[in-house]
Point group: C2
Chain length 395, copies 2
């Protein structure tokens, strides 16, 4: 009786659920401390203390009908203005509140901008490996996903193939840097090349191609690596941001879109996006937490734990002879599987109580994603299992 489109989702999700249930069973059987769950991108580091302080302040200082009431569908003007100022200070941009739409996380923001832009059949390009939900978001609006093949071992995008795959139906390109699942940060050179290709193709086809920068991991970059701000390189850039990882608030569903004045058809895009926020059923980003994050714009969750985990895991798995991409950002380690079939590898890992996500989930078989946003101690305890797993392939 459910919609035909939903049937395949239900079937697919029952596989994931089975895995999840098995994880729970394993925890019961072996003890939670003996199961090494690296499957979820759920921040292990606490939000900065400033967040709960800000929430209390908002409740105490503002009137309840302001804090919990309706505001403009795009969000409180004061919040949007504060975010614009903060971005300008960080990146030398010149946004104002009109360029910002508060959204229900980055997932909400992506759906809003795709609803705004896509006619059925329009093409959206993404570089594999990428977050599998993009497929669903694009399908929500009957868009067509066009996948550029993975580019090992650097996993910087394959720009030759990218250029070849742009057509007169290409409406948007989604980039995600720092990247889930690889941890790779796109270099300034990469960004410039993408911009050059897009400008050339826009001219060739007489179209507008929007570059959507999905940036939930922006603040999670290590060793001082620079994460270029994409609006400065290409006019038709729209940024989707989330506080899920930077402030460890994934449950709160709070983020924003930046739609710069320079994008083609700016007035229509900004108005349509605000309306899309409403008619998709978000209505507006949650109110109290909007006001709270506006007080925490200079805060970031403490990433030293992630950095410690990153080094521990990278060094250990490399030592065991596994081919890993050294992550410059995010909290994922991207590892080549020791046999071509990543699902078989994941199944073998599970024998040693290691829960990993197969690369196929990111349109890139032959790899696994290891989420290291976990307790450092768990990582240390898991080494024995990784050793056994590696040993299984060395015989």
């Amino acid at each position: 009786m459910i919609a035909k489109k939903m049937v395949k989702y239900v079937e697919g999700s029952s596989v994931t659920r089975a895995m999840f249930e098995e994880g729970k069973k394993m925890a019961k059987k072996f003890g939670a401390e003996n199961v090494y769950d690296f499957s979820l991108g759920n921040p292990s580091v606490e939000p900065p203390k400033a967040v709960s302080k800000a929430i209390k302040e908002v409740i105490e200082e503002d009137t309840p009908n302001y804090v919990h009431g309706y505001m403009n569908n795009s969000g409180y003007e004061e919040v949007r203005s504060a975010i614009a100022d903060s971005l300008n200070k960080k990146f030398g941009t010149s946004f104002n509140e009109k360029n910002i739409i508060m959204t229900v996380g980055a997932a909400g923001g992506l759906n809003v901008i795709l609803k705004t832009l896509l006619d059925p059949g329009d093409e959206v390009i993404a570089f594999a490996p990428y977050f599998g939900e993009y497929n669903n978001y694009v399908a929500n609006f009957d868009g067509k996903m066009v996948v550029v093949s993975p580019n090992p071992p650097t996993f910087q995008p394959n720009l030759k193939e990218f250029e070849e795959k742009i057509t007169d139906k290409t409406k948007a390109v989604i980039v995600n840097t720092p990247n889930n699942p690889t941890g790779v940060v796109y270099s300034e050179e990469t960004i410039k090349n993408i911009a050059d290709i897009l400008n050339k193709k826009q001219k060739e086809f007489g179209t507008s191609i929007y570059l959507i920068a999905d940036e939930p991991y922006r603040e999670l970059a290590y060793d001082g690596v620079d994460v270029p701000y994409l609006t400065k390189f290409y006019d038709n850039t729209i940024v989707g941001y989330s506080y899920s990882k930077s402030l460890s608030l994934p449950g709160e569903r709070i983020g924003y879109l930046v739609i710069p004045n320079e994008v083609d058809d700016f007035e229509n895009v900004i108005n349509a996006a605000s309306i899309a926020n409403r008619i998709l059923g978000f209505v507006n980003a949650p109110s109290l937490i909007q006001l709270a994050v506006a007080k925490c714009l200079d805060e970031t969750t403490d990433i030293t734990t992630y950095d410690t985990n990153r080094k521990l895991l990278y060094n250990k798995l490399t030592e065991l002879g596994m081919e890993c991409v050294k992550p410059d950002g995010a909290f994922y380690l991207w590892v080549k599987t020791l046999e071509p079939d990543d699902s078989a590898f994941v199944a073998k890992a599970k024998k040693y109580n290691l829960l990993l996500v197969p690369g196929s989930a990111f349109m890139c078989p032959g790899y696994v994603r290891i989420a290291y946003c976990v307790d450092t101690d768990m990582i240390k305890r898991s080494f024995d299992s990784f050793e056994k797993l590696a040993a299984e392939y060395s015989n």
Copy 2:
């Protein structure tokens, strides 16, 4: 460059925005206290004190990663369980946490269930007048809206026409009681008749027709009027609820769906709805506020102010010879316009600084909606303007 579907929305919304901007200009010109804005369903009564107390308790008592972290896409189990228990106590139902999905308000819930159920071309029936956003929600999934004509003067649904309009493509029926915009509460007799018709038609066509009860105004009922709980009358009922009005939290976007065990294809519907919550970009209802409302399940905003406003306005306008539906619930007064063209009437009202919403916005020309979730004093101050407006038609 925006999607073709969005063009008409942008055009339509610029009219609304123009009205809104004019309201702001009027406030500047005449003084805010001399402009009578009855256009918005934004609660004027404060949330119960228990809400901010609950928010503080949650922050102080639970760990930050629990309060602000990911949970099951359907919401925290403890919250869903508490809501199920509370419903069972109130309505003698027998739900458990599996029947509850926490949603980003009722708007989020409606989009989730429509995504779950609708194939393109499926028909959804609603009784005019109804909340205009239903049209957009159904269009999001390429469903076809089928409108049953208004039934004055009681505005209980026109059941003869309803029965005639059900086809083998009818997938869902949306009812909203207490009703926006009429304030009418559907009687138990009406609900029973709707159930009988639906059962008969399901049998005739061999289909499942889901009754979607949109219930944000459930707690706003006056004079002890009973608002029947629909799952008890018809097996294929799904309830969408919101705390926006009952706890005056419209900005927080918090509500839930009830999907009873008795609905056809239960397992698939509940699983698909949880997935729809994720892939539409909601991911989950905002976390902190989920935990907070679970502590306020026996609380309701103080509706005495709304009741006072209701009587004041109803008595005054009736006295002026206007034909009003006496509202049993919600916070809207539904008034027949003194000329057939409701937009012309709204324009004349504006001359006296009265901001009203034309019935056409609710698929019912010839009426206006007056939202009385405002300061009681404003209502009193507005009487002079209503008198002048009425006088204009008595000459």
